[in-house]
Symmetry: C2
Subunit: 376 residues, 2 copies
Amino acid sequence: MHSEQRQRTARRLAQDGIEQAIFASPLSVRWLTGIDVPGGSAENPALLWYDQDKFTLLVENGFAAQAAIFGAQPGCAVRDYLGYTIQQPIDRPAHLARLLSAVADGGLEDTDVIGIETQSLSMHLWWSVRQLLNGSYDLTPIDGWLEPLRAVKTAEEIATIREGFRLTDIGHVAGRQAVQADAREIDVWTAVQSAVEQAAGQRMTLGNDCIVGHRPTNNIGGPPGDIAIRPDDSFILDLSVIHQGYWTDSCATYYAGEPTAQQVTLHNFVEEALAYAISLVKPGAVAKEIDQKVRDFMDRGGYKVYPHHTGHGIGLTGHEAPRIVPYNDEVLEAGMVIMLEPGIYFPGVTSVRLEDGLLVTETGAEILSGHDKSLP
Amino acid sequence: MHSEQRQRTARRLAQDGIEQAIFASPLSVRWLTGIDVPGGSAENPALLWYDQDKFTLLVENGFAAQAAIFGAQPGCAVRDYLGYTIQQPIDRPAHLARLLSAVADGGLEDTDVIGIETQSLSMHLWWSVRQLLNGSYDLTPIDGWLEPLRAVKTAEEIATIREGFRLTDIGHVAGRQAVQADAREIDVWTAVQSAVEQAAGQRMTLGNDCIVGHRPTNNIGGPPGDIAIRPDDSFILDLSVIHQGYWTDSCATYYAGEPTAQQVTLHNFVEEALAYAISLVKPGAVAKEIDQKVRDFMDRGGYKVYPHHTGHGIGLTGHEAPRIVPYNDEVLEAGMVIMLEPGIYFPGVTSVRLEDGLLVTETGAEILSGHDKSLP
């Protein structure tokens, strides 16, 4: 489980001579362990201690049973600290600091180089380690180091993401049906969320935009509100489902009734723009070049170019490498999972956006999202 | 808006001679500002800088408009840093570090005592401040200092919590109806969540337990699963709604059909236990004494005493001061909002828990929760 992630990481750390490291970002902990444990917050932190190819997960005792599957793997261990109790004040940070200090002790010697995710580790936890170090320690911030390593997904991750898209598609079926005149944005949302959770058999975290096209100001995106759908409305449902820590993404535009002539024109054009964007996806393609070509396509059509990214990677977050944006020199590789999402927005009138999720393959792209983006 | 909170805090800091402080806990930022801005995570942090009675909120530019209402108040200011952009890599921690350094510069002099929430501030952000300090600075960790100040709610907070309970009650009406043989735990949950969100007109974060009584192991609590309700089942719905940052809590036990004789006996007894617990609430009552008396009541009834707290405060978290637990010497004061929740659990058979939310008043307690906890 996620052994390839740990191998990539060990190689990366070795390149810079780092023998010990503390991973404090919940995303890093999730990616390196493959399990969902609460982590990264002051309230409920999980940490991963790395010492010469061995990974030790520090986790609250209430989640130790869940974490055992990680500890059972080669080169992995789990240590737990006291969480909920009725016998004394709950003090997770203090217990974790003591545990971290105990686990790190012995691994740290004067000549070691320690790597730390400094943007996620609290200064409180840092102090519990610093006291173990000789004053002349060599510390390397490793913030963001795993992000490029996360961009190419493993087969295990792709399987998880596929299941996420299956659930996302179910949400869209419910959303498409729920978009009707006089229903509100929030009513569409509850229909979508209920459908996804009932299919999954459990609570799920869902994201993104659920809005009518006639919004006078921001009709690009936003959470659903107490706003009624008009008979001639368009409706943007931009839906992410987080399945086992991995995000999907997707966008369709639905209509309360028969789309207006303008809406039909816009919808067809955005469909063409998305198809064009997808045709550009293959290993070796440069992110910023895809971005520019799709913007040019919109411009040639006579439309104001959308103010957002053309697309982005997904994985443990909803927006990650490779970003399909104007400055980005990153090159697509097989195994990356990216989204593409051209849109056209007329505030106060209507808006259309369509988005697909793509697995970059050796020869091009496989569409992972299966939602119905067609006109009614 | 939350000016009393800032006054309490300024007084508390002055007691220890602290002139500058950094509040990094999202709960502290929320409590001191009265507004919901994302905060406290490595991904999306908000901070509050305190300098001699003036509070400056450091927030991502995407939330600056929301934050303006705070900045418009006496002694308050807002400064923002760059968040989402398509023109360069997104790097919130770096931009925030620069802003914090700029804001703190000038406020820090050799003789100052600075207070920091060290469990929430990242070591990365700490470094951006440390460089401004003379090596002999005097730093006081202020973790947890606001928790006791938060226990007595202001009138503004109580009004917010009342609205939260109104929504919670709506969730219970839907839940009570949804508990039927062959429906699943997750189906009850989606009915509850949809009802609350439709009433609120927006997405809401809900919490807690939604489980059948016949669960073979943990029939005390847990998230809803793909588990069908049996004809003779009991069902625990323990529901929190987070409204404008403030939690409610509540628990009822529902039944799929006519309750069994055992269930009727248990339900009546737990109703008595809860009424007894409520009768103990008044200013001056000691938390651990209430806890012990309710445990004794269960014991006298011949039941195994529940393994969890007898109750707890609520506010910006679901469990906070004053905890009604065996060790806690805290004394109740008017204005505190607490929950009481006795329960009886027979794993594999049935379980019953009932919970009310109470405002401690000058003479006793007012029940804030209005859900129907009666037998069918």
